[in-house]
């Protein structure tokens, strides 16, 4: 049996390839639904603290690195478009183009992480550590004791968890590139790339909400 024939065959529990593709997609959506609730709890925590400490959260957002965070938004939106292009290319049988687009998306993912870690470095130099540790908090009086520690701890926790999801996404995209090069991923089993792309887009959606809450919604 050739590699092409093997790729076109569904796993034994499925009647055909279309059913297998649907099951893969549905399974990923159920997983993403659980991820929605995971991040949702953290967003609910953010809402609670923001209601308790509105002024401290405004100070925190205004102090954040807005330009770097916004640049990361552009990087991530572009990577999502490129991953979608890669899925379409694979479905059309343009395997090589799909592989190159995936490599470009991985590069953009690494750029995102590099910018993110640069941000963390800037904050560490300013004395902003999780848990309200650092000389930054001493400069803001009562807000440095109540509110700002919560803001920055949530910032590190939520953006850090998002960064971990980014790393997982980059690894998954890397596996797809490896399979394209190896010849085990093609139009016949494009649903495998489809589910990885769903994960990547979801990580983008999470950032879509992290960005305004931690970088934009400050004071005037």
């Amino acid at each position: 049996m050739s590699d092409q024939e093997r790729m076109e065959l569904p796993a034994e529990q499925f009647e055909d390839a279309a059913q297998q593709a649907h099951a893969s997609r549905f399974g990923m959506f159920v997983f993403l639904a659980s991820e929605v609730l995971f991040f949702g709890a953290l967003f609910a925590l953010y809402a609670t603290y923001r209601i308790h400490y509105p002024e401290a959260f405004r100070i925190g957002v205004d102090h954040n690195t807005k330009l770097l965070g916004s640049l990361n938004t552009l990087v991530l939106l572009t990577s999502s478009a490129i991953v979608t292009g890669s899925v379409y290319a694979l479905r059309c049988g343009r395997t090589k183009a799909s592989g190159w687009l995936l490599a470009l998306a991985i590069f953009l993912g690494l750029v995102f992480l590099a910018i993110k870690f640069t941000e963390y470095g800037i904050h560490f130099e300013e004395g902003v550590y999780p848990g309200g540790i650092g000389h930054f908090f001493e400069e803001y009086g009562i807000h440095g004791t109540f509110g700002l520690p919560e803001f920055w701890t949530l910032y590190y926790a939520m953006t850090g968890l998002h960064a971990i999801h980014m790393i997982i996404g980059i690894v998954l995209l890397g596996v797809m590139v490896f399979e394209v090069v190896k010849g085990t991923l093609a139009a016949a089993n494009a649903h495998r790339l489809d589910v990885v792309a769903l994960y990547w887009h979801f990580v983008d959606i999470v950032w879509t909400f992290l960005w305004p809450l931690f970088y934009l919604a400050g004071g005037s």
Partner: protein
Amino acid sequence: MSSPASPARLVFQTWVALVAIAGLNFGLSYVDVGDARIPIALVLAGANASILLLVFMEVRHGSLSTKLAFAAAAALLSILIGLMIGDVALRGAPPIVPPGFPAPGVADIPSHSE
């Protein structure tokens, strides 16, 4: 799942829409809109998330079960965050105990063994 007639054009147009909305959100962050800042920022973020979900994640072409899986998560999340915000925002200050009427301590609570 049906593929669009011109995938490259669709991807490019969607990307332009996403960047335009993000740019609007970024620009509005420099405008003083008072307490409307967070709702405006979240509505624009929601618009971008919807585009990503419908176009790039192809939910608009998806099966009913797929749509329900995500809709259920969104509905449960709305209940979680909505109730939490409602509780925290409307809870108010704790009741003030007037002088001479101390709040009952553990020792004041009658025990069944007495």
